[in-house]
């Protein structure tokens, strides 16, 4: 009985990690992507962050503005890279790679989740650069191992969430041109309707409502809670995790249903 339950689950996890493993192997052959990923958060922290932190242009309470946006910029850079992940899937579809994987007995959800995790692992480079710059800029970071572990888990979860969202869009639009259009349209609203670079408290009411429906808000809240020394969570870390996990699960299941459309 228990065996019947464990076997498919361990099989599913095994297949998911096979997909992730080979996405990570690609990085070993060509790691330039990891470097280009690090540039954007550096610009946001060094230029935008430095400018807006002067003279208290933004009201962030007792937390200095640079401390406030460091986790926001990490979340933003995870979002900006992950949201275009679907373009790879369209590329693999234009070749015959997607078709070949779909003709194998691999569970569809494992194909989707495996790709999502690999986006998470790729996001490590942004995490390292944001920590390095934060340290240099005097942001008061929480270095406890538990906090660091939490940050890693949150980054992986966030990248999985947004890259799977991107994959779902790719399955619907199917062409690169349409995908780039939709990607551009989505990123900025997701970013601005969140608490990444300003607190939700200073938003007009309608925008606050939207930001509460935006998963990025919970990613930022969780990161802020774990990254900074002595920062309290707005929604509670449990709540943040619950939103991220639930959204990711729904997206992976949706992606698994839609992925076969790429082979038609």
């Amino acid at each position: 009985m228990i065996n019947n339950l464990i076997h498919p689950l361990s099989g599913f996890a095994g297949k998911t990690f096979v997909i992730t493993e080979f996405e990570v192997r690609k990085l070993r052959h060509d790691f330039t992507e990891l470097i280009t990923r690090a540039l954007q958060p550096a610009l946001w922290l060094l230029i935008f962050g430095q400018v807006f932190s002067r003279g208290g242009a933004m009201h962030t309470g007792t937390v200095p503005y640079l401390d406030f946006i460091a986790p926001g910029i990490l979340a933003q850079s995870v979002l900006f890279v992950a949201i275009f992940y679907g373009i790879n899937v369209i590329w693999e579809r234009d070749l015959g790679i997607v078709q070949k994987f779909l003709a194998s007995p691999t569970p569809r959800a494992a194909l989707v989740l495996g790709k999502g995790f690999s986006a998470g692992i790729r996001s490590f480079s942004q995490t390292v650069i944001v920590y390095g710059l934060s340290l240099a800029l005097g942001v008061k970071l929480n270095w406890s191992p538990l906090a660091l572990l939490n940050v890693l888990v949150i980054v992986i979860l966030a990248a999985t969430l947004f890259s799977t969202f991107s994959l779902v869009i790719a399955c619907i639009v199917k062409t690169r041109e349409r995908f780039m259009g939709v990607g551009q349209v989505l990123t900025m609203p997701l970013f601005f309707a969140s608490n990444a670079i300003y607190p939700t408290a200073i938003m007009p009411g309608w925008l606050q409502t939207i930001s509460h429906l935006n998963p990025l808000t919970y990613v930022v809240d969780a990161l802020r809670t774990c990254m900074l020394a002595g920062s309290a969570s707005t929604f509670g870390l449990d709540h943040d995790y619950a939103v991220m996990l639930l959204t990711t699960t729904i997206l992976v299941l949706t992606g698994a249903r839609l992925y076969p459309r790429l082979a038609t």
């Binding site: 095994g14 080979f22 078709q99 994987f101």
Partner: protein
Amino acid sequence: MNESILEIEALTRRFRTMTAVDSLTLSVNAGEVFGLLGSNGAGKTTTIKMLATLLKPSSGEAHVAGFSITHQAVDVRRSIGYVPQAVSVDGSLTAYENLLIFAKLYDLPRREQKARIQEALEFMNLTADAGRLVNEYSGGMVRRLEIAQSTLHRPKVLFLDEPTVGLDPIARDAVWKHLIDLRVHFGTTLFFTTHYLEEAEGHCDRIAIMHHGKVAALGTCQELEASLGRGHTLNDVFVHYADTALDSDASFQAVSAERTTEQRLG
């Protein structure tokens, strides 16, 4: 030898108003080399995609290795190999890695994986280049690797969609030599589509000519030629049954897909 491995019964696929495959009925024997011919848009690729469980039929049914494509898709997937027309190996991985990922996805026992991959590389004459990134490969090598990848788990039926499109004659011959070896060594049934009549003539046990989603003619090459009377070639047969010379009514999408494949392989 006469045991049937592929049973297609009234298989139909409609796209909006167009019927791509129209009540196709066909049976293929185990170990047979079966060629599906037809001009672009005749329904060959749609047929292969349905048999490989990538596309659901609008109606009808097919059994591959005894499993239903509509109800037992996962069992069908375990029993088949599929080489799509477009390039289906990952250029940013080595040949060895491309094979390893499929060894793992098809649950080959861990102890056997390495030996099986070495054997497949040797079989396809790729051992010396196993550690190179695939985007440095020539077209013929890519196709051989794709075949190695889709036969690693020793499928009963191998579906190939235009396996030699875009290859020069020497590379084409090499691919066919390896395909025939597969049949000899493992009894693999080969079901493929092609545009090259001489390829169908040289390698197929039987041929079906598809036209407007239906089988217009079926038989051995000799039977088909004889059906038109003495002195006819397979080309005459094709023109007669497909009502057209090859490639005359190719859609923009089909032509563009084929050219892209040719470019990548060539």
